[in-house]
Assembly symmetry: C2
Homo-oligomer: 299 residues x 2
Amino acid sequence: MSVLVIGSIAFDTIETSQARKERILGGAANFASAAASHFSKVQLVGIVGSDYPEDWFAKLRSRGVDTSGVERARGKSFFWEGRYAPDFGSRETLDTQLGVFENYSPTLPRSYRSPAIAFLGNIAPDLQSTVLSQLEPGTVTAMDTMNLWLDMNRDLVFQLVEKVEILLVNDEEAMDMTSECHPMSAARKLATMGPRIVVVKMGGHGAVVVHEGKPFFAPGYPVELVVDPTGAGDSFAGAFLGSLAAERQIDRRAVNRALVYGNAVASYVVEHFEPAAVLEMTRRTILERFIYIRELIDY
Amino acid sequence: MSVLVIGSIAFDTIETSQARKERILGGAANFASAAASHFSKVQLVGIVGSDYPEDWFAKLRSRGVDTSGVERARGKSFFWEGRYAPDFGSRETLDTQLGVFENYSPTLPRSYRSPAIAFLGNIAPDLQSTVLSQLEPGTVTAMDTMNLWLDMNRDLVFQLVEKVEILLVNDEEAMDMTSECHPMSAARKLATMGPRIVVVKMGGHGAVVVHEGKPFFAPGYPVELVVDPTGAGDSFAGAFLGSLAAERQIDRRAVNRALVYGNAVASYVVEHFEPAAVLEMTRRTILERFIYIRELIDY
């Protein structure tokens, strides 16, 4: 069973208090599909310009990611530049260039229309909506969003939330969407708005999932040195959904396991630059971190 | 079995973005003993001036707290004034007046020298040391500390850490004491320095305990509205130790249970002003929050 992932495939320029990296690989879909590839087959959907390195897609393919849903267009790939505060508690967007993403309207290849789970990554809600309408009935759908879309097109975001089975957002977005003051209360309220499963990510602290009204919390794996948090949330989503897609049944146990996997993979992402690190994470590292988190809450 | 608690018995003036409270009751020993009283008998040790209301001690006594170890001296009681940032992420001390605490040298009544657990609350390490030397061998000892004492008398703090069985500190203190970058790594390192049990409190996020080398994490109970975080850490310690003192055996299960009780009680403290609220917390509220946290990590 496979996970379809749509989102940005981008170049990022990242500035932290320790380093500056120019035009490295990034984008929500790259991080999410690299993370999901450890658990299930992946179908990647997105668009790049003529400037994007083909060998990255070759690398993805070697790990079981189908990249035939990636369009290559004349022009420049999506570009984002950001600067993190020294404690990584916040970040500032310095530049965003949509490039070929500006006029993108995704069309799913026929073989992409009935994945086990379709992940509408963090892109404009009208693009998410376009993809949603192309999926076969019965596909489990998941979405992420961000404050930008909540500010620009709040109504459409909420229409989508009503339609999807799984919602994954971070704590700030969850509180913004519900006017609740605590991520857990926000998660519980979001779970009444349609999705069967709501995940609220709390950065290094961990994440909470509400499934059929019941919350489960998994703490973050203790990261010694944060290098670059970019893509952590996307990788979390990729690991969560990849793990779910590999399960026979999406029950409470599967959901809780997926949440721990999400935390395990995300903790590794923040220790590295670029999605290649996520792709190259070993099965052993994933399992070690899974077990660590699992034992941390073994009452 | 009883918990001996020594620490400040104080007046606090608290300023938050919502309210200002003048000379309300406070002090680590008040919060800790009020919290511990829900689980076991308590023996309170400290000093107050002639200005401290006797009816507060009557209230404590009515809940099983022995206050015969509290000295009343001529002069003023300990006073602290602080202001919290609007998000409660930090606080600023505006005034500290030691009053009768300045020349205090605690002498334990004979009946206080062999409690189940003695809690050396957050006071000067030489006072903690004085109390420690008066306890019968076999008493389980626990201590808290704070950055002030680590700055002023670091060596003595570490000498005490080597001697006690249980250390409870917050994340910043733990990282300061170990030069580790993550509260969990700090907890593990502190656990190699002597104490059999190390608890690192992470505010609203929860707390981790390392017991015989193994960490266990309990998330915070979701607090809707923070009113005043003063005393949350002390109440956490009181509940943790009170719960432990009521156990037949301090094993892993007892320690994990105590950690969940610590979080349950601390979450209530931050929703209220003054230690009287802790004292009046109902058994039902404690249990509800205990079960909520317990279920949150039920994998």
